[in-house]
């Protein structure tokens, strides 16, 4: 050993003379990756699952306002949401949550360009279009062109909602073209794509369906030339839309464990620790719409009678149905009603919102955009004359797809019922879409209600504090913007959710 020491000592001496500046260059944390080491491949799985989780579990407010869900008597009233008197604190997580995931998608896009990875570039454009669509549909004008540039724009200015929509359509066309140019996808990317496993044709169908979704959101204001242009781009792509059985769903490998269950199941059915949702329950309004001609929900446990069979798949039978001799398996409340925490208003007496057709298992896929919604949108676009095809056929396929997704029987019989038989109106298509998207895309019902007023007889909240307020047209910008980006949010004028509409809401 001793004989080694001298050479080592000499070596050390040499090292020391160079032990100067770079001795201090130790600012890369070995435990946290920085921008240099992160690749698109490690960003995509979370970008996909968080997007799907947000769509599936972050729009309770839309479900309450559109008559899908209500609050059980186990909980006291939530005055803000039930009086429609929303503040800058209400759902501020929509802003931070979407911008958080959009930040990652923006990084993914920049990295993909630098690394010449067109798949991730196209995926980033697609996911960014989804995120910004949800932001515009809730806030109208938001930072877009100056977003994600803290060096250049520490106070990001806002872009007009219609301009953002126009650019999203441009970005989606670019995404479609990038996907179309990809011939092979490597196994690592297939594993990272927890939605389509690298199937670029499915991605193109999703992109095309998203383009149709954007056009339909602005159906009341969009110029005909825009429709023609976008539809011709969709046609040029040639992959078509998400068809029956082709829902865009995400599954990174959900397991029964804390933070790792399917988000919908985890939130509305049961957590991994067995904690049940006691808050969200069926809304009497939609129960009435599912009820048959007699207007009354069947309480026969084995026979739904003339009810829409899907009622028993989107809602669960009450855990404690029998009260004072009367048995009611499917029971809800009126939104905004002050209820005592006693029978029959307790959570256990009422139908939860994670019925067996929606919460099939804690490890099921999480929908991001369903084939059901795709078919209803195609039907509406056909009825509007935007795209070719028979609206009646697509309408029937859409309803059938809804039954099929839920595992409910009797689609064919349902299609022959009065009121369900196609009457060639957009309102009917959108109303059936409303009945089909509960629990799958609650927010879309809120968009459709604002742009078309469907359902037409949606009741307002029963809360006494509602006064003359109606269902809000949008969210308030979050308080953080007023405090940290004051001049730019002030430039949007005074926001009154009762009167300040999204650009497409005319």
């Amino acid at each position: 050993m001793k004989k080694y020491i001298y050479p080592i000592f000499a070596l050390a001496l040499l090292t020391v003379t160079s032990c100067k500046k770079d001795f201090f260059d130790i600012n890369q944390n070995p435990n946290s990756p920085t921008d240099e080491s992160v690749t698109p491949q490690v960003i995509l799985p979370r970008a996909l699952s968080v997007t799907a989780a947000r769509i599936g579990t972050n729009f309770d407010y839309a479900a309450f306002w559109t008559g899908y869900w209500s609050r059980s008597g186990t909980y006291g009233q939530s005055i803000e949401i039930e009086s429609y008197n929303i503040t800058t604190g209400f759902n501020s997580g929509q802003w931070t949550g979407w911008y958080d995931i959009l930040t990652d998608e923006n990084i993914m896009e920049k990295k993909a360009v630098a690394l010449n990875q067109p798949f991730y570039q196209a995926a980033a454009k697609t996911l960014k279009a989804i995120g910004f669509m949800y932001l515009v549909d809730q806030y109208n004008n938001v930072p877009y062109t100056r977003a994600f540039d803290i060096q250049g724009s520490i106070l990001p200015s806002y872009d007009k909602g219609e301009d953002i929509y126009a650019d999203l359509l441009v970005q989606l066309d670019a995404a479609a073209k990038l996907f179309k140019g990809i011939s092979t996808v490597d196994p690592a990317t297939q594993a990272a794509d927890v939605m389509f496993s690298g199937d670029v044709v499915q991605w193109r169908k999703l992109v095309n369906t998203l383009r149709l979704k954007l056009l339909l959101h602005e159906s009341q204001v969009v110029p005909a030339a825009t429709v023609t242009n976008v539809v011709s781009q969709i046609t040029a792509d040639g992959a078509g839309y998400l068809a029956a059985g082709e829902s865009a769903t995400v599954n990174p490998g959900y397991v029964i464990a804390v933070d790792q269950q399917n988000p919908f199941y985890n939130t509305y059915k049961s957590s991994a620790l067995g904690v049940l949702d006691q808050y969200n329950r069926a809304n009497n309004y939609i129960l009435g719409k599912y009820a048959g001609a007699d207007g009354v929900v069947s309480q026969n446990p084995t026979n739904a009678g003339d009810d829409d069979p899907r009622l028993r798949y989107v809602f669960s039978a009450a855990a404690t149905p029998t009260i004072a001799g009367a048995t009611n398996y499917y029971r809800g409340t009126n939104f905004g009603e002050v209820l005592p925490n006693s029978d029959p208003y307790r959570a256990a007496n009422q139908s939860d919102v994670a019925g067996p057709g929606l919460a099939k298992s804690p490890t099921q896929d999480q929908p991001l955009l369903t084939s059901i919604e795709s078919l209803f949108m195609q039907a509406e676009a056909q009825q509007r004359g935007w795209i070719p095809g028979a609206a009646a056929t697509t309408y029937a396929s859409a309803i059938t797809e809804s039954f099929s997704y839920l595992g409910a029987p009797g689609a064919a019989a349902y299609l022959t019922r009065p009121g369900v038989v196609f009457n060639s109106t957009i309102n009917q298509i959108v109303f059936q879409k409303y009945l089909s998207l509960i629990g799958l895309d609650n927010f879309e019902a809120y968009v459709d209600y604002r742009r078309l007023g469907v359902p037409t007889d949606l009741p307002l909240s029963a809360n006494a504090n509602r006064l003359d307020r109606v269902i809000p047209l949008r969210l308030q910008y979050p308080q953080a913007e007023y405090s940290y980006n004051a001049a730019n949010v002030a430039a949007q004028g005074t926001i009154n959710p009762q009167t300040s509409a999204i650009f497409w809401d005319k």
Partner: protein, 637 residues
């Protein structure tokens, strides 16, 4: 592996010894002259350098010194001793107990060097153990409350162990002093210091900084012949100082934004990374502080009256602050050289010892007072203001041209006459999300009064403290409005009422509201009233009785009958006895701020002390202030 270890060991040794290429190791033992016992804790320094060490528990020391260097040994209560490095490298020293009065020795900020107070060109205050411990405070920082001018000690949380936040002269602690000294005839003194530091926390382009300082003092009462032996003006010293300091007191790895796995990830082998929400600046620069101060110290009537005053001015540039930003930037906070502040003020100390001396009764009185003001002089390019801490709807801002730590908060929607606009239908106001400035959260005045009285063996000392000229936000008001238990939410016995000083719109005109009552007070107090943070802003001024100490020394005659106990003292102590606040403060002690260590603005927390960038923000989770009572019995054998 073994070889590697050896190499790194060699490297370490070389890195150290390289610095002292011309030096040798000096060892020795320091003992006390009077009893010959070893002295632990003696400061041993190489004269003219900042190299130094302390003796260990056995009085032994070891340090590297130049062969021709001189060593200085100093220890409180002993006369400093200077000697040359011996050729043998062994230096044994015995120190003579000093007759110097302890109160004139100051331990300076750096290196633990002891200095004669008369030689120092900057404001320095000395407190003896007894003064700090008079109230049996749970930690030394609390023990300093109200006793040092220029020091603002804020308790961040109550409970048994009070966490505190310390602000010296407003914004920054003097994180630093190093010095070299020239003395003329023991009445003129000038010190220069220059120091270069490198930090591994910063990028290589910014990692090194130099800071110089100069300070000078002159004891006029010794220098001017006609003042010598004057009984009226027994001591007069003028002093002045200038220094530039720099620091980069940041956590390691604060230069690059990082990524982390999202919640739930990894799922099996599938990772899912997300950008973390704090942005970092790779080229972060060290903060720089330029301090200038002038002052005097005067003693009158054989030092019966002592007066000290200091004017100070500091420029704090490139302050490193985590600021809150719009999440549309991709981050929620950003760690930047965000702002520059100017800070100036006056510190005054008056000691009347004794104020009254009528034989057996002796009354002393000490006063210290600080006034200071600050101004934000520069802001990160492109910004007019920065959110530097607190709540989103009520927090601390740095606004160009305004005092540091401006408090901005949301308010009601008001008409041009300042009246609260209510709905003609519901009588209810609405919240205006745009925040407004409601004052600053650092006190402009801090005053400490300490009278003490002694009669025979009985003594009593009290400490009163005042802080004023500032505001605070009490989020507990928000929580109490929610639960309906505050004075605010109990207005008109919780029945409908006409909102005070309100108006509503009729045909485009605001008319005073005298009749439309608030339709639902519960909805209002659980809703809009909570969004309006200005409801919970208070004038934070307060007088308090901080400490009381009543003691009794048993007469020696009583003890003379036995030989075991030589002296006995019994004392009663109490802290935080009384608090006087303005009527507008319905929420309690404004001295309590809130700075959770886990938050992005409470960074830099160390044991028991939180030095965040947040001031005057409290919520309902902090413990109430503690009032402590205690007693001590001291027996000397």
């Amino acid at each position: 592996m073994k070889k590697l270890l050896l190499v790194s060991l060699c490297m370490l040794c070389l890195c150290v010894t390289q610095l002292y290429a011309q030096s040798k190791t000096v060892t020795g033992t320091v003992t006390a002259k009077d009893d010959g016992l070893p002295l632990p804790g003696v400061t041993v320094t190489v004269k003219g350098t900042t190299t130094g060490t302390q003796t260990d528990g056995n009085g032994k020391f070891s340090l590297n010194a130049p062969q021709n260097g001189r060593l200085v040994f100093s220890f409180i209560g002993y006369t400093s001793f200077e000697t040359a490095v011996t050729s043998s490298g062994v230096v044994n020293v015995s120190l003579q107990a000093s007759s110097t009065n302890l109160s004139e020795v100051v331990v300076t900020g750096a290196l633990g060097q002891t200095r004669q107070k008369r030689d120092i060109g900057y404001a320095a205050q000395s407190l003896n153990n007894a003064t700090v411990n008079a109230g049996n405070a749970v930690n030394i920082a609390n023990g300093l409350q109200g006793k040092v001018s220029g020091l603002n000690v804020t308790t961040t949380n109550g409970g048994v162990f009070e966490n505190v936040k310390i602000n010296l002269r407003g914004i920054r602690s003097l994180t630093f002093y190093g010095n070299a000294n020239f003395n003329y005839k023991n009445w003129a003194n000038i010190e220069f210091a220059g120091r270069s530091e490198q930090t591994s926390n910063l990028d290589l382009s910014n990692y090194s900084y130099f800071y110089p300082s100069i300070n000078a003092s002159i004891v006029l009462s010794d220098a001017l012949p006609f003042l010598k032996n004057s009984s009226a003006l027994s001591y007069l010293k003028l002093r002045g100082g200038w220094n530039k300091t720099a620091n980069a007191d940041i956590a390691p790895y604060s230069l690059f934004p990082t990524f982390g796995q999202g919640v739930g990830f990894p799922y099996g082998s599938i990772p899912g990374y997300t950008a973390n929400n704090t942005n970092y600046d790779r080229y972060l620069r060290p903060e720089r502080i330029t301090n200038t101060e002038v002052g005097f110290e005067a003693g009158f009537l054989r030092n019966r009256i002592n007066l000290e005053a200091t004017y100070f001015h500091s420029d704090n540039t490139d302050q490193i602050i985590p600021i809150n930003v719009s999440s549309a930037t991709g981050f929620t906070s950003s760690y930047l050289n965000a702002a520059s502040f100017k800070n100036k003020g006056v510190e005054m100390d008056l000691g009347l010892t004794p104020l009254v001396d009528i034989g057996k009764v002796r009354i002393n009185f000490r006063v210290n007072a600080t006034y200071y003001e600050s101004e934000v002089t520069q802001i990160y390019p492109g910004l007019e203001e920065l959110s530097i801490g607190g709540y989103t709807y009520a927090g601390n801002f740095a606004i160009k041209g305004q005092p540091a730590f401006a408090l901005k908060a949301t308010d009601y929607v008001r008409d041009p006459n300042g009246r609260v606009v209510v709905s003609a239908l519901s009588g209810a106001p609405t919240a205006d999300p745009s925040t407004k400035v409601f004052g600053n959260t650092l006190p402009k005045w801090i005053i400490g009064l300490s009278p003490s009285v002694r009669w025979k063996g009985l003594s009593a000392t009290a400490l009163f403290e005042y802080k004023g000229g500032y505001y605070a936000y009490s989020d507990i008001g928000n929580a109490m409005a929610w639960t309906g238990v505050s004075e605010l939410s109990g207005v008109n016995s919780r029945e409908r009422f006409v909102f005070p000083n309100s108006s509503y719109l009729v045909n485009g005109q605001y008319v005073p509201n005298t009749s439309v009552t608030l339709n639902n007070p519960e909805t209002f107090f659980t809703g809009v009233a909570r969004s309006v943070a200005s409801n919970y802003i208070i004038n934070a001024s307060a007088w308090r009785m901080r400490e009381l100490n009543i003691g009794y020394d048993f007469p020696t005659g009583l003890l003379s009958k036995q030989k075991v106990i030589k002296a006995a003292t019994i004392a009663f102590t109490a802290r935080n006895l009384f608090l006087w606040v303005p009527k507008s403060n319905a929420y309690g002690d404004p001295d309590y701020t809130y700075s959770p260590a886990a938050s992005n603005f409470g960074t830099g927390s160390t044991t028991g002390v939180t030095s965040g960038n947040q001031a005057g923000i409290s919520d309902s989770s902090i413990n109430p202030p503690t009032r402590t009572f205690g007693g001590t019995l001291t027996l000397t054998f």
